[in-house]
C-alpha cells in the first residue's frame, strides 16, 4: 500500500478526469463528482503524510518501474519532506478550485472539471517524479489543460493571454528538454536519485531558464499579468498558488541540488534578478488598478522572496522558502477566490468602482481582512515566520538583500492595506449596490478551511519549516540515495 500511495496521489485525479469525461452522467452531477474526487485526493494526501516518516526524512513512499531501459528511463516516483507539503498544497488548492467552480457553475462542465482534475494530477506528478524525463512529461502535461482552461473559460482578453503564456512556457521548457537530453545521456540514466552532479553551466541555465519563466522571475514575467487577469479566478489561484511553486520546486530539486557549481557561480545574478522582481513586483502591486492586478504582481514579488530563500544556500533559507511556498500558495488561492467573489457581486475588480463593502458584509470583511493581514506578514502570522527565515538565511549572502527584503515587507503592507481598504473601506463604490450580498454559505465553506489552515500555520509554522528539508536539500536528497 505504502509504495502505491504516491502513484495513487498522481493518478487518482487523472482517473477522476477520465470518469468525468467518459462516464455518462447528468450535467448537474459533474461538479459535485469532481469536487468529491478532489476531496478524496486530499484524504489520500493526509494518509500519505501520516505514513511519511519526517524523523528520518529522505526519499520515501517511492515506487519504481522500468519504462524504457535502453536510455535508463524509468517510472520512478517518491517524495521528500518538502514534496509532501507541496503535494498537500496542490491537493488542497485543487479541491478548493473544484469546489469553487462547482459553486459558481461553469459552462461545459464535463470538459472543465475533467481538465481541472487532470491539471491537479499532473502537478502532483511534477512534485513526485524522481526521473528527469518523467518530471518533464508531467511538467509539460500541465500545460495541456491550462491552455484550454484559460483559453475557453477565461475573460475577454483570453486569446492573447493564452498565446503569451504558452509561448513563454514552451520556450523555457524546450530549453530544459535540451538540457535533460544532454544531462541524462552524459550520466547514462535519467533517474534523479542516481544521477551525479554536474558542473556544466549551460545545462544549469537550460533548467534555470525554464523555472525562471514558470515562476516567474523578473524579467521573464511578461505573461503573468494577462494570464492572472484573464483566467477563471480559480485557475488564476492555481497558477499563482501552485504552478509557480513547480518552478521553485524545480530550482530546489534539480537546479540547486544537481548543479552545485553553477548554482554557486550564478547565485549573485539570480539573487539580483529576484531582488528586482521583489521590488518591482511590490511597486506594481501598489500601483495596480484592480484587485487581481495586486495579487498578480504580489505573486511576482513573493516568488522573488522565495528565490531569495532558495539561493541563500543555507538551512534557514531552504526551510523558509518551503514554508513560504505553502503560505503563498494558500494565500494566493484564497485571495483569488475572494477577488472572484467580489467580482461576482460587483462585476468589476477596479478599485475606482469598489469600496465600502465591509458595511453590512461582516463575513467578507473578516475573511478578506484576515487573509490580507497574514499576507502582509504581520508578526505571528505564518507569512512572517516564512519571510523571517528567508531574510535570516539570505543575510549570509549579503546584508543588502536582507535590507531590501525587509523593505519589501513594508511595501507588501502598503499594497495589501490598499487592497483591503479599496474593497472594504472608503466610500461605497459605484459598482457596489445593496444587492451585493455577504458571502453565502457555499462560499464560506470553500474559503474558511483555507483561512483556517493559514491560521493553524501561523500558530505552528514549524510543522513545515521544521520538517521541510532536514538539513538542506543536499542532505535530504542524499539520504534518499543511500
Amino acid at each position: 500500500m505504502t509504495t502505491w500511495l504516491t502513484t495513487l496521489e498522481i493518478f487518482l485525479p487523472v482517473a477522476g478526469a477520465l470518469v468525468v469525461w467518459l462516464l455518462p452522467m447528468p450535467r448537474a452531477w459533474v461538479g459535485s463528482v469532481a469536487t468529491l474526487i478532489s476531496l478524496v485526493e486530499v484524504g489520500v494526501w493526509i494518509t500519505a503524510a501520516k505514513r511519511y516518516d519526517f524523523g528520518s526524512g529522505g526519499l520515501q513512499l517511492g515506487q519504481q518501474h522500468s519504462w524504457f531501459s535502453d536510455l535508463g528511463v524509468s517510472y520512478h516516483v517518491g517524495q521528500f519532506a518538502f514534496s509532501v507539503w507541496l503535494v498537500g498544497l496542490t491537493a488542497i488548492c485543487g479541491a478548493a478550485a473544484c469546489a469553487y467552480a462547482w459553486w459558481a457553475g461553469r459552462e461545459r462542465p464535463r470538459a472543465y472539471f475533467g481538465l481541472l482534475l487532470f491539471l491537479t494530477g499532473s502537478v502532483v506528478g511534477v512534485f513526485a517524479a524522481q526521473d528527469l524525463l518523467l518530471f518533464y512529461a508531467f511538467f509539460e502535461a500541465m500545460l495541456i489543460p491550462l491552455y484550454i482552461l484559460v483559453g475557453v473559460w477565461g475573460g475577454a482578453g483570453r486569446l492573447g493571454a493564452t498565446i503569451k503564456f504558452v509561448v513563454y512556457t514552451v520556450a523555457g521548457s524546450l530549453l530544459m528538454l535540451a538540457s535533460i537530453v544532454v544531462y541524462g545521456l552524459q550520466q547514462h540514466t535519467f533517474d534523479l536519485t542516481k544521477m551525479g552532479t554536474s558542473g556544466n553551466d549551460w545545462l544549469f541555465l537550460g533548467f534555470a531558464l525554464a523555472f525562471a519563466v514558470k515562476a516567474p522571475l523578473w524579467p521573464l514575467h511578461g505573461w503573468l499579468p494577462d494570464a492572472y487577469r484573464e483566467s477563471p479566478p480559480e485557475i488564476a489561484g492555481l497558477l499563482s498558488g501552485v504552478i509557480s511553486k513547480v518552478a521553485a520546486y524545480g530550482f530546489l530539486r534539480i537546479a540547486i541540488d544537481r548543479f552545485p557549481g553553477p548554482t554557486h557561480d550564478f547565485r549573485t545574478p539570480i539573487l539580483v534578478l529576484a531582488t528586482i522582481g521583489l521590488v518591482y513586483g511590490s511597486l506594481l502591486a501598489f500601483r495596480a488598478p484592480d484587485v487581481r492586478g495586486v495579487i498578480a504582481y504580489s505573486s511576482l514579488a513573493q516568488m522573488g522572496l522565495i528565490t531569495y530563500g532558495l539561493f541563500a544556500a543555507n538551512d534557514l533559507g531552504y526551510d523558509g522558502a518551503v514554508l513560504q511556498m505553502v503560505n503563498h500558495g494558500l494565500i494566493s488561492m484564497t485571495m483569488f477566490l475572494l477577488a472572484a467573489m467580489v467580482e461576482r457581486r460587483t462585476a468589476t475588480g477596479e478599485f475606482a468602482l469598489l469600496g465600502g463593502m465591509a458595511k453590512g458584509r461582516p463575513a467578507l470583511a473578516t475573511i478578506l481582512m484576515t487573509t490580507g493581514v497574514i499576507a502582509l506578514a504581520v508578526p505571528l502570522s505564518s507569512n512572517f515566520a516564512g519571510e523571517f527565515l528567508i531574510l535570516a538565511g539570505v543575510l549570509a549572502q549579503g546584508w543588502a538583500y536582507a535590507v531590501i527584503g525587509a523593505a519589501s515587507i513594508v511595501l507588501a503592507a502598503m499594497y495589501m492595506l490598499r487592497l483591503i481598504s479599496g474593497v472594504l473601506h472608503q466610500d461605497q463604490g459605484a459598482a457596489v449596490t445593496d444587492a451585493a450580498l455577504d458571502l453565502r454559505r457555499g462560499e464560506l465553506a470553500i474559503v474558511l478551511p483555507l483561512v483556517a489552515l493559514l491560521l493553524a500555520l501561523s500558530a505552528w509554522p514549524a510543522v513545515i519549516s521544521g520538517h521541510a528539508t532536514g538539513h538542506g536539500p543536499g542532505t535530504a536528497i542524499a539520504k534518499g540515495q543511500k
Binding site: 535502453d70 500545460l143 475557453v152 528538454l177 537530453v181
Partner: protein, 487 residues
C-alpha cells in the same frame, strides 16, 4: 536456356499480395456490380493490406539476420519487414479514410487498385538492395501516387496537384537515376554492399552520392526539395494526402538510412553532414512556412516538411540509437499524420469546402471525439508528452547527442518552439472559437456518421498515445530491426 535465380517467394509475399490485390481490384472494376462496387472494392483493398501486414509480421519474425536474396536484388531482413508492416498499416487506415469520400462511382475500384499498387511499390522499394530495384520501386509507387493525386477530377486543384507532383517527382527520379549511373560508373557495381566494399572515393562517386541524396530527399519532401509538397498535399483528395504523407515518408526515410549505411560507409562524414544540413533546412523552412498558412492541409504539408527534418536527424546521426529512433519516430508520426488528415477529411465532407483555420471554429465542441483526437495529434506533432511524438523527438535528439552533435538538438528545439504557435492555432480554432462566428448556411441535418473514418481516427489515436506508454516493446522491435543495418 536462361538461368533463373532461386526466388524466395516468402520474402516477396507482402509485395506480391498487394500486387495481386491490385489486379483483383481491376477485375472488380470491370466485373463488379455497379451498386456494390464501392464496398466490395474497399473490402478487397483492406483485405489486401491486412494480408500484406500479416505477411510482413511473419517475415519480420522469420528473418532475424539480414540477407540479400534473389541475385542481390532485394534484402530479406527485419529492417525492411518492419517498414512493410508500417506501410501496410498505413494502407489499412488509408482505406478506412477513403471509404466515406465521395468519389465518382465509375472509377472507385481503380482508385483502390492504385492505392494497393502504391503500397506494393513501397513494400518492394524498402527491400531494395541494388540501385536497379531501388529505382524500380521508386517509380512503381510514384507513378501510382501521381495518378491518385489527380484522380478526383471534380476537385479543384486535384489535377494541378497531380501535375505538379508528376513534374517535380520526375525531376527527383531523374536525379536519382543520374546519381545511380554515376555511382555505377565509378564503382562498376549495382548492389549496395558491393558498392560499399569497393571503397572508391572519387569525385564521380561523390557527385553520384549527392544526386542520390537529392533524389531521395524529393520523396521525403525535405527542404530544399519540398517545393511540390504544399501544392500536392493541398490539392490531392484528402485520403490520398493522408496515405502519401505517412507511407511515403516511411519508405523514403527507411531506404535512405539503409542505402547510406550500406553503400557509402566510406563517405559517412560527407553524407551525415549533408543530411544534417537538409534536416536543419527542413526544420527551418517547414516550420516557418507553416506559420503563415490558413489552409489546414497546407499547414500540415509544411509540418510534414519539418518532420522530415526531425526524422533526418537520427539518420544524420548514423548510429544504432539513430536507427532505433527513426523506426520508433515513424510509428507515432504515421498515426498522427493519418489521423490528422482523417479529421480534416471529416470536416471537409461536412462543409463541402477546403478546411481553413477559420472554418474549423467550434469543431471541437460539435464533434468532441474528432476534435479531441485532432487536439492530441497536434500535441503529438508538437512533441508534447502523453503522445509518442514527444518520445520520438526525444530519441532523435538523443541520437544526435550520441553522435556528438548537440547543436542539432538546439536546432530541433528551436524548430519545435517555432511550431508551437501554428499547431496550437489549430487547437485554438477548434476549441477557443465559437462556431457561431462561421455564419455557415445550414445544409440541414446533422453530418453523416462515417464509422469507417471514426475507426481510423480511433486507431490512430490509440497508436499515438499508446506509443508513449508502451515505448519499451516498440523500441525492442526497432532495436532488432536496426540490427540488420551495418554500424
Amino acid at each position: 536456356m536462361i538461368k533463373t535465380p532461386h526466388v524466395d517467394w516468402f520474402a516477396l509475399s507482402p509485395t506480391v499480395s498487394l500486387t495481386g490485390t491490385a489486379g483483383l481490384l481491376l477485375l472488380v472494376a470491370v466485373f463488379g456490380p455497379k451498386r456494390t462496387r464501392k464496398p466490395i472494392a474497399a473490402i478487397v483493398a483492406g483485405a489486401g493490406f491486412i494480408t500484406a501486414f500479416v505477411f510482413a509480421v511473419l517475415l519480420a519474425n522469420d528473418s532475424p539476420n539480414g540477407a540479400a536474396i534473389i541475385h542481390d536484388s532485394i534484402f530479406r531482413d527485419r529492417w525492411a519487414a518492419i517498414a512493410q508492416v508500417l506501410i501496410a498499416a498505413c494502407g489499412v487506415i488509408g482505406v478506412l479514410i477513403s471509404y466515406g469520400e465521395r468519389w465518382r462511382e465509375e472509377n472507385i475500384a481503380e482508385y483502390y487498385a492504385l492505392l494497393t499498387a502504391a503500397g506494393a511499390g513501397m513494400a518492394f522499394f524498402v527491400q531494395a538492395s541494388n540501385l536497379m530495384t531501388l529505382f524500380l520501386g521508386l517509380e512503381w509507387f510514384s507513378i501510382a501516387l501521381y495518378v491518385m493525386c489527380a484522380i478526383d477530377i471534380d476537385l479543384v486543384g486535384s489535377l494541378e496537384a497531380g501535375l505538379k507532383y508528376l513534374i517535380v517527382g520526375a525531376v527527383g527520379s531523374a536525379t536519382l537515376l543520374f546519381g545511380s549511373a554515376l555511382v555505377y560508373g565509378s564503382t562498376g557495381e549495382l548492389s549496395f554492399d558491393k558498392i560499399g566494399a569497393v571503397q572508391a572515393h572519387d569525385s564521380l562517386l561523390v557527385l553520384g552520392l549527392a544526386m542520390i541524396v537529392a533524389g531521395l530527399a524529393f520523396k521525403t519532401s525535405a527542404a530544399p526539395f519540398h517545393m511540390w509538397t504544399p501544392d500536392a498535399y493541398q490539392g490531392a483528395p484528402t485520403p490520398v494526402t493522408a496515405f502519401m504523407g505517412s507511407a511515403t515518408k516511411v519508405a523514403a526515410l527507411v531506404v535512405t538510412y539503409r542505402l547510406m549505411l550500406t553503400a557509402f560507409p566510406g563517405d559517412t562524414r560527407l553524407w551525415t553532414w549533408a543530411l544534417a544540413g537538409i534536416a536543419c533546412a527542413s526544420i527551418a523552412i517547414g516550420n516557418l512556412g507553416a506559420l503563415i498558412q490558413r489552409n489546414v492541409k497546407r499547414l500540415l504539408a509544411y509540418s510534414s516538411v519539418s518532420h522530415a527534418g526531425f526524422m533526418l536527424i537520427p539518420i544524420a546521426a548514423a548510429n544504432a540509437l539513430g536507427a532505433r529512433a527513426l523506426l520508433y519516430y515513424l510509428i507515432p508520426y504515421c498515426a498522427m499524420s493519418l489521423g490528422a488528415f482523417a479529421v480534416l477529411a471529416a470536416r471537409e465532407r461536412e462543409l463541402g469546402e477546403p478546411v481553413t483555420l477559420d472554418n474549423l471554429a467550434g469543431f471541437g465542441w460539435e464533434r468532441p471525439f474528432l476534435g479531441v483526437s485532432m487536439w492530441i495529434f497536434m500535441l503529438g506533432f508538437l512533441g508534447f508528452p502523453l503522445t509518442g511524438g514527444f518520445l520520438g523527438k526525444f530519441y532523435a535528439f538523443a541520437a544526435a547527442y550520441e553522435h556528438g552533435w548537440w547543436w542539432l538538438i538546439i536546432v530541433g528545439v528551436a524548430g519545435t518552439l517555432i511550431s508551437a504557435p501554428y499547431y496550437l492555432s489549430v487547437v485554438r480554432s477548434m476549441f477557443l472559437r465559437d462556431s457561431a462566428e462561421l455564419h455557415l448556411t445550414p445544409a440541414g441535418g446533422s453530418p453523416l456518421r462515417d464509422r469507417a473514418l471514426d475507426v481510423a481516427v480511433g486507431l490512430c489515436l490509440a497508436v499515438t498515445v499508446g506509443s508513449f506508454f508502451a515505448v519499451a516493446p516498440l523500441i525492442d522491435v526497432a532495436r532488432s530491426a536496426a540490427d540488420a543495418l551495418p554500424f
